[in-house]
Symmetry: C2
Subunit: 283 residues, 2 copies
């Protein structure tokens, strides 16, 4: 088995893998590459997920996907061959809706059309907050202006962002993600209105979000490794919660990630299959 | 005449108006309010411009307008009743084109459709820089993605921004301006690629831009007052060049501008007509 973990041998030690009892898997860029027609599984990842589950480790899925309801998203992954149930998948919209209900907030939505059904039954009259997600083509000039106007018209401007990724990769190229528009709205409000709008991020890398997953796993942070392709949102976010963070060299990974000035993964692996090989070696 | 300058009496002294030999006028929000059908003149401004010119002061116009060629923009103002010639109007696109030619740059454009004719004869094959202007509806998700991809694909990412205003007011409400998208692209490239993209701003508040106008006026900075509705781009920019800056309470002016932590106008006036009254009182 040693050859399969050669990419780790060059980095830091791998002894910590022995204490891993649970794995949280990022989805896009780790399990599959998105794109036209829903995207396609990354080679070896369907089998890698099955091996992880068969090993008796506790496995959860954690995504910032907001272009679909959680149900439809899981269906899409099942069609690709993955075996996963909705209750093991954590995504921002259900977490946000819980918060909106708790705090009696009525959102103005700037999200993807296919996410709208998630908000069935949520009161959206006289909005008192703005919610942005990965709206893709809905990030039109007109919709951005409208979100801006609603936000600065509020006595207490409140902005929720479903994730804060800056870009992602689809089969037809890199695309801007919600974080770019979140920063733009924050910057605009702060500089011009001194109203100090700071978006509340729902989803990775929010500690609240990771802790919800940990509670569901019934594990301590040091017993869990997060596997993702996003150095800041997956690896950095998990590490700040006390988990280990492993970056795979698929999806949005770029070689410069391994020289990032402030975030360093506990391990870098070529893909999910290699990561699971390494974990299995220690179990 | 004292009553017409009452709004100054409460502020700092107005003695400096005696040394004014030239006036630079911002256009949108000072001369007219933009909006459907091209917008409309602000009451009293047509006459105020005529009085300024008749007084023998040197008058120039300085705009960050990039939704039209300079020629068509001047035509629009003439239809509203203003008397001005193209050669006295300074706008970003002609200044940028001068720079592109000097530095042998080929732009990828993300600008308003109506600005495109300004680039007739400019080589746009194999772009080696990105130019963004106030593209309005052209700030689509698709066009932003494309500009981002071109930018990060360059060996030496070079971004020009025609102005850096953050929002402006049209008759149907506040609208996001080019500065928001400039910041978004800068932020995205810097954080993710550590490639330190800092846009070169062409137009106000760039010192180069103001100095071109001053050279044309054949006046020293301390002899000139800039009149604008934008505290940072008009007033602050002019003051950094050694000019006086007067803010009018029309256009995008907001009362909080008068409590801005770092920029303070040399005078605040209700509108251009009041500003010209004050200048005339001292001549």
């Amino acid at each position: 088995m040693r050859s399969s973990v050669s990419s780790m041998a060059a980095g830091s030690g791998t002894e910590w893998l022995r204490s891993v009892k649970g794995v949280i898997l990022d989805m896009c860029g780790v399990l599959y590459d998105s794109g036209e027609g829903g995207g396609q599984a990354i080679p070896g990842s369907v089998e890698a997920v099955r091996r992880l589950k068969d090993s008796g480790l506790t496995v959860r899925f954690c995504t910032n996907e907001t272009q679909n309801t959680r149900e439809r998203f899981v269906q899409k992954l099942c069609v690709m061959g993955f075996d996963l149930s909705v209750s093991h998948v954590f995504s921002p919209a259900p977490a946000l809706i819980h918060t909106l209900r708790e705090r009696q907030l009525r959102p103005h939505l700037l999200v993807h059309d296919d996410l709208i059904p998630e908000f069935d039954g949520v009161d959206m009259s006289s909005p008192n907050c703005v919610v942005i997600g990965d709206a893709a083509d809905n990030f039109s000039y007109q919709n951005l202006n409208e979100a801006f106007r609603v936000l600065i018209g509020l006595e207490n401007p409140l902005l929720f962002s479903l994730g804060q990724g800056r870009y992602y990769k689809e089969t037809d190229g890199l695309k801007l993600d919600v974080g770019v528009f979140m920063k733009a709205l924050e910057h605009l409000c702060c500089v011009q209105y001194a109203c100090d709008v700071q978006a509340e991020v729902v989803g990775k890398p929010s500690a609240d979000f990771f802790q919800t997953v940990l509670r569901d796993m019934k594990l301590q942070p040091h017993e869990v490794v997060m596997i993702g392709d996003d150095l800041l949102n997956d690896v950095g976010g998990a590490q700040r919660c006390g988990m280990k963070g492993l970056q795979v060299r698929t999806g949005k990974y770029r070689p410069s990630d391994e020289r990032h000035p402030s975030v360093r993964a506990d391990a870098y692996m070529d893909d999910l299959s290699a990561a699971v090989n390494a974990i299995m070696t220690h179990h």
